[in-house]
C-alpha cells in the first residue's frame, strides 16, 4: 500500500496541532516519524486511524483519496494500529483478543475457538511472530503483549500498513531488539510501517526514511544515515532563535546539591543512576536531554514526591531527606511541573483558588482554620494584573483558560511567595510565543533576584536562550556539563549518549542487546 498525506491540518480551536503535513509511505517501507512529546505525532496518527477528523488536507491510499469516519473505516482500508497503551482485555486469551470485534463464529453467534486459534497461528506463522493462542494476555510479558497487538493489527481483513505509536516506550532493551527485527521482517514481507518515536537509535536502526515533526510542522526529511546529532537538533529545533536579554550570571552559594541520586522504578529499571548536580544562587542551570531520560523523576525527587533509593538531595545546604513536599515548598522551593493539567492546576478550581494552592494554609490566606476569601481574591487580582493572566474574573475556573494562561497561573503562584530554588520543568510547553517570552523573561528576572533556577527542557532553543550552564542528562545520569556557548552538535551528541564511555552498556542500543535476546524469548513460553 502506498499512503500519502497531503497538507493534513488539525486545529483545536485556535491551537494548530498539525499544520500542513505532507508525508508519503511507500509499500514495504519503514517510515519513521520523529518528534518530541506534543509535537503533533499522536494527533497525526489519530487522523490517519479515523479517530480525529482532519480540519483540512487529504489522505490518499494508492492514489485514491479516502475519508475515515472512525477506526472501522481505517481498518477496512487496510490500516492497523498498535497503540502506545495496549488495548487488550487482560483476562482473555491471545486468540480471543485477536478476534475481538470480528469474532469467528460457527453460525448463530456461537464462537468458534478453533477458527480463532487457527487465525492466530496463521498470522504468527506468516510473519514469524511466535505466540501461544491459549495464553492469558495479562500473564504475558509486556513485549509479548505487544506482539499480540501486532498480530491483532495484522489480522485485519487486508492490513497492509501498520502504525506503531511509540512502541518501544514500555519495552526492555532485549524486547526492543526483537521488535525491531519483527518490523524488518514485516517490511520485507511487504507491509508498510509508520513508526512513531523519539528514540533516535531505534529510528536509525530500522527506518528507511525519517520525517521530523516539530510544533505541528514537518521540519525535516532525513535519511536514516543522518547522524543522531542532526536528528536531535531537527527534533528540538533550530529554526527559531529566542532572544532573552540577560546579563552574565553571578552565581553564589549552592542552593541545590544532588549527590549520587538513584531511583529505581516499580518495574525495576534505574531511572536515575547516581545523578550528580549542583545549582547555585543567581544562575540558571539548563538540563538538556531527550525526554524520558530521568528528568521527570529528578524533578519529583527534588519536590519529595519520590523517595530516592540512594543518594542525597540538599536544598539551601540542608539535607531534605524525610522532609515532606509541603516542608520543601514552605522552605522556598518553587516548582513548575511538566504536566500542567495533571500536576500543576486543578482545572475545576477557580483562578483565585489555584493561585494559593500551595499556600492556602498560610497567612494571610488562612485565619483560624478558615480561608480568608478577601485575601485570596486580592492576591488573585494582583497576580492577574502583574502576570497578565487573561481571564474573565478571578472566580473563573482554570478549565476555561488557554494553556498559556493556565501556565501563567502556575508561574504567578510560584513567583508570588518567597523562594530560594526554582525547578521549572518544560515551563513553556504548549504555550504560545508571547506567553513563552513572558515566562522566559520572568525566569531571568528570578535568577537576578538570587534564586537558583533549574530549567528542565527538551527544547534546546529554550536551554540556549536561558541557561548560564548546561547539564545534559542521559539515561538517568548527567553525562556532561558545558558552557552555554557550546555548539549544538556537541550537545546533540551528548543528548544521545554518543560521546560517553560506558554509556552504551545501559543504553537501549539495539545492537548491543543481543546477548539478552534469548532470555526474553525464553520468558515467553
Amino acid at each position: 500500500m502506498r499512503l500519502e498525506l497531503k497538507g493534513l491540518t488539525k486545529k483545536f480551536g485556535s491551537f494548530t496541532a498539525d499544520d500542513d503535513i505532507d508525508l508519503v509511505v511507500e509499500p514495504g517501507q519503514i517510515h519513521a516519524v520523529l518528534g518530541e512529546n506534543g509535537a503533533g505525532k499522536s494527533t497525526l496518527m489519530n487522523m490517519l486511524y479515523g479517530i480525529l477528523a482532519p480540519t483540512s488536507g487529504e489522505i490518499l491510499i494508492d492514489g485514491e483519496p479516502v475519508t475515515f469516519e472512525g477506526p472501522g473505516d481505517a481498518i477496512a482500508a487496510g490500516i492497523g494500529m498498535v497503540h502506545q497503551h495496549f488495548k487488550l482485555v487482560g483476562p482473555f486469551s491471545v486468540a480471543d483478543n485477536v478476534q475481538l470485534g470480528r469474532e469467528h463464529t460457527q453460525g448463530l453467534g456461537v464462537l468458534s475457538a478453533k477458527a480463532a486459534r487457527k487465525a492466530v497461528l496463521d498470522v504468527s506463522e506468516e510473519y514469524g511472530l511466535k505466540l501461544d493462542p491459549d495464553a492469558i494476555c495479562e500473564d504475558l510479558p509486556v513485549g509479548v503483549q505487544q506482539r499480540v497487538e501486532i498480530v491483532k493489527a495484522l489480522s485485519g481483513p487486508k492490513t497492509e500498513l501498520l502504525i506503531l505509536d511509540e512502541p518501544t516506550a514500555v519495552l526492555t532493551p532485549a524486547e526492543i531488539t526483537e521488535l525491531l527485527q519483527i518490523m524488518r521482517n514485516l517490511a520485507a514481507a511487504g507491509t508498510s510501517i509508520l513508526f512513531i518515536s523519539h528514540k533516535l537509535k531505534e529510528v536509525q536502526a530500522v527506518a528507511d526514511t525519517v520525517t521530523v515533526i516539530r510544533r505541528g510542522k514537518v521540519v525535516a526529511e532525513l535519511e536514516p544515515t543522518a547522524s543522531e546529532a542532526e536528528m536531535a537538533s531537527a527534533m528540538v529545533g533550530r529554526a527559531v532563535t529566542l532572544q532573552v536579554d540577560k546579563t552574565p550570571a553571578e552565581p553564589g552559594e549552592a542552593r541545590l546539591e544532588i549527590e549520587g541520586l538513584t531511583v529505581v522504578s516499580d518495574a525495576g529499571v534505574k531511572v536515575l543512576d547516581g545523578l550528580e548536580l549542583t545549582v547555585h544562587s543567581g544562575e540558571i542551570v539548563g538540563l538538556a536531554g531527550v525526554e524520558g531520560n530521568g528528568q521527570t523523576e529528578l524533578a519529583r525527587s527534588i519536590l519529595g514526591l519520590i523517595k530516592p533509593d540512594e543518594g542525597r538531595i540538599a536544598i539551601d545546604g540542608k539535607d531534605v531527606h524525610g522532609a515532606s513536599p509541603a516542608h520543601r515548598i514552605a522552605d522556598g522551593l518553587g516548582y513548575i511541573p511538566e504536566d500542567r493539567g495533571r500536576d500543576g492546576v486543578i482545572t475545576e478550581f477557580s483562578v483565585a483558588e489555584n493561585l494559593v494552592l500551595n499556600q492556602y494554609r498560610d497567612a494571610p490566606f488562612a485565619r483560624r482554620g478558615a480561608v480568608n476569601a478577601g485575601a485570596v481574591r486580592k492576591r488573585a487580582v494582583d497576580s492577574i494584573a502583574e502576570f497578565d493572566i487573561r481571564t474573565q474574573s478571578p472566580e473563573e475556573p482554570v478549565s476555561a483558560l488557554s494553556g498559556g494562561n493556565a501556565q501563567k497561573v502556575i508561574i504567578a503562584r510560584e513567583f508570588s511567595r518567597p523562594r530560594r530554588l526554582l525547578v521549572a520543568a518544560q515551563p513553556t510547553r504548549g504555550v504560545d510565543v508571547g506567553a513563552s517570552q513572558f515566562i522566559h523573561s520572568r525566569l531571568v528576572a528570578e535568577r537576578d533576584t538570587g534564586t537558583g533556577v533549574l530549567l528542565i527542557s527538551s527544547e534546546l532553543d529554550e536551554i540556549y536562550a536561558l541557561a548560564d550552564r548546561i547539564a545534559v542528562i542521559y539515561n538517568g545520569r548527567i553525562v556532561g556539563e558545558v558552557a552555554p556557548d557550546t555548539p549544538r552538535a556537541v550537545i546533540g551528541r551528548l543528548m544521545v549518549g554518543a560521546d560517553i564511555a560506558g554509556a552504551d552498556d545501559t543504553a537501549p542500543a539495539p545492537d548491543d542487546a543481543d546477548q539478552t535476546d534469548e532470555e526474553a524469548n525464553g520468558g515467553d513460553r
Binding site: 513536599p325 495533571r342 478550581f349
Partner: protein, 427 residues
C-alpha cells in the same frame, strides 16, 4: 470529556433584570424553565416520578385495573376510577407527611388541638433527621472523591456509643446528653476512619472495605444487644437497656402535644449541615478536601498529604453518621434499641446525598423530601401500598442521575455549562 460541575445558569434570569427589560426577563425565565439545568432537572424529575408513580398505582389497584377491561365500551369508568385513585393516594401521602385535612376540619370545629395539626410535619421531620446526618456523611466524602457506602455501619456504632454513655453514666442532663451525643459522633468517626486508613496505607478501595464494615457493624450489633452489658434487664426480646432520662433528646414541641416526636436532634442536624457547608466552602480543610477530590496529583504537587486527607475526611464523615446514630438511640430509640432501630438510614443517606448533589443545603432539602415520603407512606398504609414511597424515591433519583433522559423526554435545551451529571469518583 469535560467534567465541568459549575453551572452558573442559576444566576442567569437575574442577569436580564434591567429596568427597561421586563419582557426580556420573562423570556429569560421561560428559557430557564425549558433548559436542562440542575434546578429544573430536579423539579422535572420529581414531576416525572409522580407521573410514573401514578401509572403504577393504577396498574396495582385491582378495581381500577378492572375498569380498563371494558375501556372501549365505557372509557369514563376507567378515567374516573384512575383519577380518584391517584388523587386519593397522593392526598393520603400529603396528609401523612404535611397536613391532615380532616384534622384541619376538626381544629376549625374546635375538637382538635393545634399540636395535632403539626403531627404529620413532626413525623416528616423525625424521619428526615437521621437522613440529614447520613446524607452529609456521604456527601462530604463525595467531595473528597470518596464513596462512603459505610454510613450504615458508622451509624450503628454511633448508636451504640451514645447508648452506652446514655445508660452507663449517671450525670445531670446538661452534661449527660451532650456527652452521649459526642460519644456517638466519636464512635462513628472511629469506625468511619477505618476505610480511610486502609485506603491511605494499603490502597484498599473504600467502597469494598466500607461495604464489608457495614456487615461487620450490623452483625456486631446483633451480638452486642444480646450481651449482658447491653441487654434489657426487664424484657426478653432482643432489645437493649433504655437510656437514662437525663440523656434523652428533649422533644422540640412537647409544649404543644406529647405526640409530636420531633426532637432536638433536628436542630443538631441543621447545625451539622451549616457546619459542613462552612467546612467545605470556607475552611482550609474543606479547600484540601475539594482539591484532593478534583485532582489528587496537583494536590500532592502542591504539598497536600493525600492519605491523611482521606483518613480525616472519612473520620469526619463517620462522625456525622455517628450523630445520626446518637439521634436514634437518644431519640426514637431511647426506650432501648433493637436491630431494627437503624432501619436503612445509612443506605438512604447515599440517595439523599446524590439527590442533594453533595451540597449541604441540597442534602437537607433531599432529606426533608425523603422524610416526607416515608412519613406519608407509613401513615397512608394500608390504603396506599407502602412501597409507593420507595418507588417514588428510586424514580426521582433515577431521573436525577440521568439528566440526559429528562432532557430527552421533555425536549429541554442543553444549558450553557453542559449537563450536570452526578459524579461518584470512587467508581
Amino acid at each position: 470529556m469535560s467534567t465541568d460541575t459549575k453551572t452558573p445558569t442559576a444566576d442567569e434570569p437575574e442577569a436580564g433584570e434591567t429596568p427597561e427589560s421586563k419582557p426580556n426577563f420573562m423570556r429569560l425565565f421561560g428559557r430557564y424553565l425549558t433548559e436542562a439545568n440542575s434546578v429544573m432537572v430536579t423539579i422535572y424529575s420529581l414531576l416525572l416520578a409522580f407521573l410514573i408513580g401514578a401509572i403504577l398505582l393504577i396498574v396495582s389497584d385491582e378495581y381500577t385495573r378492572s375498569t380498563f377491561s371494558y375501556f372501549f365500551s365505557r372509557p369514563q369508568d376507567a378515567w374516573y376510577a384512575s383519577r380518584d385513585l391517584i388523587v386519593e393516594s397522593y392526598t393520603a401521602l400529603f396528609e401523612g407527611a404535611i397536613l391532615n385535612l380532616s384534622t384541619l376540619d376538626r381544629y376549625a370545629a374546635g375538637t382538635a388541638e393545634f399540636g395535632d395539626l403539626l403531627r404529620p410535619l413532626s413525623e416528616t421531620l423525625t424521619y428526615a433527621t437521621p437522613l440529614i446526618f447520613t446524607g452529609l456523611a456521604v456527601g462530604l466524602a463525595f467531595r473528597a472523591g470518596l464513596f462512603n457506602i459505610g454510613a450504615q455501619g458508622q451509624l450503628i456504632f454511633g448508636m451504640m456509643g451514645a447508648l452506652i454513655i446514655g445508660f452507663a453514666l449517671d450525670l445531670p442532663a446538661v452534661i449527660h446528653l451532650p456527652l452521649a451525643v459526642i460519644a456517638g459522633a466519636l464512635a462513628g468517626a472511629a469506625f468511619g476512619a477505618v476505610p480511610g486508613v486502609l485506603k491511605a496505607t494499603t490502597g484498599a478501595h473504600e467502597v469494598i472495605s466500607s461495604i464489608m464494615l457495614n456487615n461487620i457493624a450490623a452483625l456486631f450489633l446483633v451480638w452486642a444487644i444480646s450481651t449482658e452489658f447491653l441487654h434489657s434487664e426487664t424484657k426478653t426480646d432482643l432489645i437493649t437497656k433504655p437510656v437514662d432520662e437525663s440523656a434523652v433528646m428533649p422533644k422540640l414541641l412537647s409544649g404543644l402535644s406529647e405526640s409530636l416526636r420531633v426532637n432536638w436532634a433536628l436542630l443538631i442536624g441543621i447545625g451539622a449541615a451549616v457546619f459542613t457547608w462552612w467546612l467545605l466552602s470556607r475552611s482550609t480543610f474543606g479547600f484540601r478536601i475539594r482539591a484532593v477530590g478534583f485532582n489528587e496529583h496537583a494536590s500532592a504537587t502542591a504539598g497536600m498529604r493525600i492519605g491523611s486527607t482521606y483518613t480525616t475526611t472519612m473520620a469526619v464523615a463517620g462522625g456525622l453518621a455517628g450523630l445520626a446514630g446518637a439521634a436514634l438511640s437518644l431519640g426514637v430509640g431511647s426506650a432501648g434499641i433493637t436491630t431494627n432501630t437503624a432501619l436503612e438510614y445509612g443506605f438512604d443517606g447515599i440517595t439523599v446525598a446524590l439527590l442533594g448533589r453533595a451540597k449541604p443545603g441540597g442534602i437537607v432539602a433531599a432529606a426533608l423530601l425523603f422524610g416526607a415520603l416515608k412519613a406519608g407512606a407509613l401513615s397512608a398504609q394500608p390504603d396506599v401500598p407502602v412501597d409507593i414511597s420507595t418507588l417514588l424515591q428510586a424514580t426521582i433519583v433515577l431521573f436525577i442521575a440521568a439528566p440526559a433522559l429528562v432532557k430527552a423526554i421533555l425536549h429541554l435545551r442543553t444549558p450553557r455549562g453542559g449537563l450536570v451529571t452526578l459524579e461518584a469518583k470512587g467508581w
